[in-house]
């Protein structure tokens, strides 16, 4: 009994050490979105390409909707843009843009210069919709399923590796759910 008690500090030290050692390999930047599993909130905003016509939640048509948050001030958006053009060709998904706290003219010339992969881009000058879906930067990409529920938020630029690792499995899962 006494020998066990003598070892308690050592045991505690080893446990604490193991805990802290594990902590070394956690990614502090990885942050799950609080919006996963919640419906896409309602909104009424103009499009980048048309000032008068307001669009809302129901205008994001498609079984699997990808909502890509972008802005002209965002350098990594430029990096992922060519890949977005690629994704847009995938017939299983519909890619929409959320132009986040940006300048309309800058956004328009961006779309002209680098081509427009989106069905349309929502123009969120004040960042109201961005705030409602918990955007904290750009680029971010949300996956919304056929029932209008947000299934995923990916923060950072999309490239081939990311697409295959983060998005394709989820798209297949949602397709399987839809088939049921």
């Amino acid at each position: 009994m006494k020998s066990i008690i003598r070892f308690i500090p050592l045991i505690l030290f080893v446990l604490l050490g193991a805990l802290l050692y594990r902590g070394l390999f956690l990614n502090p930047q990885a942050m799950p979105s609080a919006m996963i599993g919640k419906p896409l909130p309602k909104f009424e905003l103009p499009r980048v390409k048309s000032e008068e016509q307001l669009v809302g939640r129901d205008d994001l048509q498609g079984n699997i909707v990808l909502l890509n948050v972008w802005a002209t001030w965002c350098i990594q958006c430029k990096y992922e843009h060519p890949y977005l053009l690629n994704i847009a060709k995938d017939e299983r998904i519909k890619l929409y843009g959320l132009n986040f706290t940006d300048d309309r003219n800058a956004a328009l010339s961006w779309l002209k210069q680098y081509q427009d992969p989106y069905v349309f881009s929502i123009f969120d000058e004040q960042g109201a919709l961005g705030l409602d879906i918990g955007v904290f930067g750009a680029p971010e990409t949300f996956v919304i399923d056929h029932t209008g529920i947000i299934r995923k938020r990916f923060a950072g630029p999309i490239n081939d590796t990311v697409w295959k690792r983060e998005f394709l499995p989820l798209i297949e899962t949602i397709e399987a759910e839809m088939a049921q």
């Binding site: 942050m31 609080a34 706290t101 705030l131 918990g134 955007v135 930067g137």
Partner: protein, 174 residues
């Protein structure tokens, strides 16, 4: 030899050295005071409807954590999201929302990450009570150890009958 010729001793007597030290210490103290007063927060211009709202804004922007930054509150951060959220916090306050409504609003969108003071719920019970449990553990083990120690001393004092009579003799000799 020329190097020896060039050697010029510098004389610092005790009084001069003390004066120099005193000067350096006061410079250090002064700069410490000055640094404490520096408030390196970003500057926004907000017009509050009253003094209470202003105070609540200051408190809430210190309690809420910037979602993008690792360890900065809304008041300290200059990142785009923090600026936007401060503006949003201001709007919510001007609309007359209560503190709890504002916190719920932020948590709904950004999760528990935005709170520096975690809410009391199942997953956070350990956060709230672990220090108390550890403290209790220490107090209990301290009491146990101390008791054992005092018991050991009492048993050491258990004298044999012979020793006891000797002791009595000595005490009664007077």
């Amino acid at each position: 030899m020329s190097s020896l010729m060039m050697y010029v001793p510098i004389h610092i007597n005790g009084a001069a050295l003390r004066r120099l030290m005193r000067f350096l210490v006061s410079v250090m103290l002064l700069s410490a005071i000055w640094l404490n007063n520096v408030n390196a927060g970003p500057v926004d211009i907000f017009q509050f409807k009253d003094e209470t709202t202003k105070l609540r804004f200051q408190l809430l922007s210190k309690e809420l954590r910037c979602p993008k930054c690792q360890n900065q509150n809304l008041a300290d951060s200059n990142s785009k999201i923090a600026v936007d959220l401060r503006k949003n916090l201001y709007n919510l306050l001007q609309e007359g929302k209560s503190d709890q409504e504002i916190i719920d609003f932020m948590v709904y969108r950004y999760g528990d990450f935005v709170l520096y003071r975690p809410q009391m719920k199942k997953q956070t019970l350990i956060l709230w009570f672990a220090p108390l449990i550890i403290l209790l553990g220490f107090i209990i083990s301290l009491v146990v150890v101390l008791r054992k120690r005092s018991k050991v001393k009492a048993s050491e004092l258990n004298l044999s009958s012979h020793e006891q009579t000797n002791l009595d003799d000595i005490l009664n000799k007077k």
